[in-house]
Symmetry: C2
Subunit: 346 residues, 2 copies
C-alpha cells in the first residue's frame, strides 16, 4: 500500500499538521509513503521521506522540492517533455484546520477523482463548524452542551453562569479557546477568539468533568479504538497540544465499566455512520451527571489518533479499501436533443 | 466588468446549466463574458461566445475548444512555451446541482484564490442537502415543513398522512421528485428517488398552497428582487423546468399585501445574512394557514433568477464588488522554532 500523506495547508494548524505527518512516518512502517506538502501559498511540493523533519519546512528548504500540480486523477510533476503522474494508492488528508477540515481538500480530491481517506464534504462542514456540529448532533439524538452564539459585531455578553469556555467556531487544537470566570475575563477572551473567527460559542465550563476519547472508523465492520481518559490540565494550550500531535506510543484504556464504554461507543457510531464513512475520526465525550455528552468531533485527529489503536496501520490499510465513491453520472444530452427536436418541428 | 461564467459540471443538472449559461449571454449585454465549460469528465474548456448554443455541447464539438487548467489565481491555457492566464474580474458559479451547488466549485475557487460569485462552502453544504437546510432554518427561526427522512436500506413507510411529496435530499430542479397519494405510489416514488440519492425526505403535499419566490443578495445594501407567485402546475417536471431555466423576460410582482411581502423579505434576509454573502440566491416560500414557510433555497437559481430583477446586470455587477474574502493566515513557524530551541537546550 502506497499512501500519499497530504499535510500543511493555509491554516492556523499548519505547523501541527507537519508534526502529525512526521509522526505518520514513525507509525506507518510497513507502508510506502509519499509526502505531499501544501505550503502556506497552497502550492503542492513532493517531499522525500528523508526530508521529513520540521526544519525542512520552517527553514523554507522545502521550496527546493519538486512542485506538483493537481489534475484529473492525481498529482503531476511538470517536465519539459510532458508530465509525470505521482503514483500512490490513496491519499490521506492530514491537513488540520482550514483547507483540510473545512471541506476544501475533500472537494479537490472528489473533483479530481483521487482516492482519499478523509471526511467527505458534508462531514467536513458539519464537524469543522462547532455550531453545525451541535445542530447535527441534535438531529441524530446525541447530546451536546448548551451554548450561546456570539458574533463579532453583535452582543458581547453571555446569559449563562460562569465559569464559561469560549471557543472560535471554526478552529481546532484549542486555538483561541479560553476559560473565563467573570465578565472581565469574558471580554478579553472574546477579543482573543474574534481574532480567529467572526463566530464564537460560549459553553458552560464543567469543572472536573470526566472526558473520554473514542476514535474509529468503519470498514467491513466497526474498527473502534480503545477509549482513553486523557489526563490533562484544564485544557491544552497550543504548545502542549503540539507535543500531543506527535504521540506515537500506545496508551492504556480508561478504567470504566462496560456499560459506560458501550454508551460511548454507541454515540460514536451514531455520529460516524453514514456521515463520516471514508474517514478515521476521534470524538471527545464528557460524562456529566451520568450522561454522555459530545464535546467535539475531531474530523482529522492529531497524528490520526494512532496511539489509541493496537494496530493502527492495519486499520488504516483496511479503511483504504473501504472508501465511498461518488456516483458516476452519465450525461447523454437527452433533454437538449428533445428540445432541439421540438424546435425543429415548430 | 469581465465575468467568467462557469457552467456544466458532473451533475444531473448539467444540461440545464448550459441553458442557464446561454441565458446569461442574453441578459448580460454590457459585460464582457468569458465562458468556461466543465464537461462531464470535469475538464475545463474555454468556449467562445459565438459558440454558446446547446448543440455545441450536445454534439461534443466543445472538445475542439482549448482546454484550461486550474491553478493558483486562475485558469490557464497550456502552451508549448509557458502558459497563459485567462483574464476576468470574477467568476460566476452557474453549475447547478453536484459540483456547483454542493461546495466543490466554491472550494476550488477559494483554494486557488479566484474571485467568485457563489454560495461559499458552508452555505453550499447547508442548502444543497435538504435535511441540513431544515436544521439550519430551524436554528435561525425560519419555519419549514415537517418531514420524515428515509434511507435507501431503511424503512420504506411514512407515518404522515397522504398526499405526500417525495424528494431526493441532494438534487434540485425537481429531479426525482414525486407527489404520492397512497402506499403504492410511495413505493414507486421511493424507487425513483433512490435512483438519485441514498437519502430521501417525505413532506406533506399541501394542495393549492400559495408559493412565492424571492431572490436577492446583499451589497452595500439589500438588493431584493420582486416577489413572484409562480403560476405552475402541481410541480414542474424536468422538461418544463428546463424551459424555465431559459427565462429572460421580466415578470410581474405577486399581488400581495405589504405585510406579507415584508414577512417574506424578513425570512429571506434571515436565511441570507451572513451565510450566503457573496451569492445571489432565490428562496421559495409557501404561505399556509397564515405562516411563511421556507420550501427551498436555490443556491444557484435557474438563469440566476434574472427575470425577477429590474436591473439584473446592475445587481450582479455590484455583487461582484462585495465578495467575502478568506482571511489571510501568515505562517511564521514560531511553534516549530520554539520546540526546536527547547530540544536544543535539553
Amino acid at each position: 500500500m502506497n499512501i500519499a500523506i497530504l499535510f500543511g495547508g493555509s491554516s492556523y494548524e499548519h505547523e501541527i499538521s507537519i508534526v502529525s505527518a512526521i509522526t505518520m512516518k514513525k507509525v506507518l512502517q510497513k507502508s510506502q509513503l509519499t509526502f505531499i506538502f501544501v505550503d502556506q501559498n497552497r502550492e503542492f511540493y513532493l517531499v522525500e521521506s528523508a526530508q521529513m523533519q520540521s526544519k525542512h519546512f520552517s527553514s523554507g528548504a522545502y521550496r527546493k522540492n519538486k512542485k506538483l500540480s493537481l489534475k484529473k486523477g492525481g498529482f503531476y510533476i511538470g517536465a519539459l517533455l510532458g508530465e509525470k503522474k505521482i503514483t500512490f494508492d490513496t491519499a490521506l488528508n492530514l491537513i488540520h484546520g482550514r483547507d483540510g477540515e473545512d471541506g476544501k481538500i475533500a472537494s479537490l480530491m472528489e473533483f479530481y477523482e483521487i482516492s482519499f481517506i478523509s471526511p467527505r464534504l458534508e462531514a467536513s462542514v458539519l464537524s469543522y463548524n462547532k455550531l453545525y456540529t451541535k445542530l447535527f448532533a441534535q438531529s441524530i439524538g446525541v447530546k451536546t452542551l448548551p451554548y450561546e452564539h456570539l458574533t463579532k459585531n453583535g452582543n458581547r455578553t453571555a446569559a449563562m453562569p460562569y465559569p464559561l469556555i469560549v471557543k472560535p467556531v471554526r478552529l481546532g487544537s484549542s486555538i483561541g479557546v479560553s476559560i473565563v470566570r467573570d465578565a472581565q475575563g469574558l471580554e478579553y477572551a472574546l477579543d482573543v477568539a474574534f481574532e480567529f473567527d467572526n463566530d464564537v460559542i460560549v459553553e458552560p465550563f464543567l469543572e472536573g468533568v470526566k472526558e473520554y476519547n473514542q476514535a474509529g472508523c468503519k470498514t467491513d465492520e466497526w474498527e473502534l479504538s480503545i477509549i482513553e481518559e486523557p489526563h490533562k490540565e484544564e485544557f491544552l494550550d497550543f504548545e502542549k497540544k503540539y507535543m500531543d500531535f506527535s504521540r506515537d506510543g500506545n496508551v492504556l484504556a480508561a478504567q470504566i465499566d462496560e456499560g459506560l464504554a458501550e454508551r460511548i461507543q454507541e454515540n460514536f457510531k451514531k455520529i460516524y455512520d453514514p456521515l463520516f464513512l471514508g474517514s478515521l475520526i476521534r470524538c471527545d465525550f464528557f460524562v456529566y451527571k451520568g450522561e454522555v455528552i459530545l464535546n467535539e468531533i475531531n474530523p482529522i485527529p492529531g497524528s490520526m489518533a494512532n496511539y489509541l489503536f493496537e494496530n493502527f496501520e492495519g486499520v488504516l490499510t483496511r479503511l483504504a479499501g473501504h472508501l465511498p465513491k461518488e456516483k458516476p453520472i452519465a450525461i447523454n444530452y437527452d433533454y437538449i436533443h428533445s428540445i432541439q427536436n421540438a424546435k425543429g418541428k415548430a
